[in-house]
């Protein structure tokens, strides 16, 4: 494992499968009377949120607490820390306080990378979403959900998503979820197709390891999973699409469209959903929709990531497991 988790693109196939397998074990903890492990006792993790995201923060916090870590939450609105030096100052403050890991959410793409590489701080950094760049734990929990549903909970152990056809629909341009998922799903052997109006696909997408289509109806029958990305209404004002109604008609997922998907195919959404815009209530509430599962799986994935980054002392010395430690 690497020291930080900044981008899904940094994960090898074996790293990713190890995280998914570890998360399966973590998930079993949730079924026990005491849902807590002593693994990170005495370790302090700071959730450094420069951007509002109650869901992600709560998920990380739950994961940290289940691993018995001490948790510090630092939440700062973009406006009060709009000057970049606050990131550095905050990081150095945390370092001085002896934080063992930093989970960072930031509106600026690259802020976690900068935090991890600038020498401001020594602790491992976990990217909890940066600008329109990456959101690796989201991609991991999505892959975890897909593997469970499409390969199987036990059958999936040790396996990747080879040959699975995954379709991501919506605002790819502004989506860190899309970027992370394209990277990770490709690493795991899946075939990824992006579907969006051309205005919401980045220039330069042609080098991504995926297909791009503007026609949702043609892609749906060939999809094992369809992930709907959130589309912010404000995009309309910047002329990315004419009206909400037109967007829904061309790129929204409703019951009729869902019927075109294969029997076994699932519908995913990173949340929060804009019902009526990219997804209808009928689809969101159907059995095929995994949104609630994704939330539960997020805690397991984040436990796995934190355990693998922090559970051991990743020193340069290689320790071999021998009997004297038993």
């Amino acid at each position: 494992m690497m020291r930080h988790l900044i981008s899904a693109a940094d994960l090898t196939r074996d790293d990713a499968v190890l995280i998914l397998d570890t998360a399966e074990e973590m998930a079993r903890v949730a079924d026990r009377p005491i849902r807590k492990l002593p693994t990170l006792r005495g370790r302090t993790i700071c959730n450094l949120f420069f951007e509002d995201s109650t869901r992600t923060r709560i998920s990380f916090e739950a994961a940290e607490k289940r691993l018995s870590a001490d948790v510090i939450n630092f939440t700062a609105k973009g406006s009060s820390v709009s000057k970049g030096e606050s990131l550095k100052d905050t990081a150095q403050t945390l370092e001085a306080m002896g934080v063992d890991a930093v989970v960072i959410r930031h509106s600026a793409s690259g802020a976690p990378y900068r935090l991890a590489t600038s020498g401001w701080i020594d602790a491992p950094v976990v990217n909890a979403g940066d600008g329109t760049h990456q959101h690796p734990t989201q991609a991991l929990l999505d892959a975890f959900t897909m593997r469970r549903r499409l390969v199987g909970r036990d059958a999936g152990l040790g396996r990747d998503l080879a040959g699975k056809r995954i379709t991501l629909v919506g605002d790819v341009l502004h989506s860190r979820v899309a970027r992370s998922n394209v990277d990770l799903l490709h690493t795991l052997g899946a075939e990824v197709t992006l579907v969006a109006p051309p205005t919401l696909v980045p220039v330069g997408v042609e080098t991504w390891p995926c297909e791009v289509s503007y026609d949702l109806d043609r892609v749906l029958p060939k999809s094992d999973a369809v992930m709907m990305l959130r589309v912010q209404r404000e995009r309309m004002n910047a002329a990315f699409f004419p009206t909400e109604r037109e967007y829904s008609r061309r790129y929204g997922l409703d019951g009729d469209r869902m019927a075109k998907m294969p029997e076994h195919a699932i519908v995913m959404h990173p949340g929060p959903m804009v019902r009526g815009m990219e997804i209808t209530a009928e689809v969101a509430d159907s059995d095929r929709c995994t949104v609630v599962e994704q939330v539960a799986n997020g805690v397991s994935i984040r436990m796995a990531v934190l355990y693998l980054l922090l559970g051991g002392n990743d020193s340069a010395v290689t320790h071999t497991r021998t009997e004297e430690n038993k």
């Binding site: 397998d21 074990e25 009377p33 005491i34 693994t39 922090l310 002392n313 009997e323 430690n325 038993k326």
Partner: protein, 188 residues
Amino acid sequence: MDTQQQYGDDARPVLEAPDIARVLTRIAHEIVERAKGADDVVLLGIPTRGVFLARRLAEKLESITGTKIPVGSLDITMYRDDLRLKPARALGRTEIPGDGIDGRLVVLVDDVLFSGRTIRAALDALGDIGRPRAVQLAVLVDRGHRELPIRADYVGKNLPTSLRETVKVQLAEEDGRDTVLLGSRPSA
């Protein structure tokens, strides 16, 4: 793992396959005797090799008592006290039999008893899963050098060793053969 490199060239077998089968049979009988029939026994193996031993013991118990013995696994990685000293490792499987462990006699099964730290971790892990009536410990080899007040209830073989020596248990399920090797640690 290269056994030759890991355990030196002089590794010699102290238990062979027939010996292992024999001591497991003896332990099974001892369990039945001490548990007065083994009605409420649950066997929990500690991954990796403890799980295979637990399954073998369960078979022997079943053939003695004629009843089905619940068997599972208990991974203690997340409860280790040396996590910060080593790189994070892949987790083993924890599988608790369907009826749970509350009020049962849990027999922990491991291959080698050494410092006792693994068993300490296993006791912590058990406490988070339920409340057994009692907990006992069965090991294939006790090599001494305890660092905690822990002892085994059932021992396949007491093997006095020096700290410079290594004990390696190999089981057919994982290693292709049954044997216990005693060797000296490579000097380098």
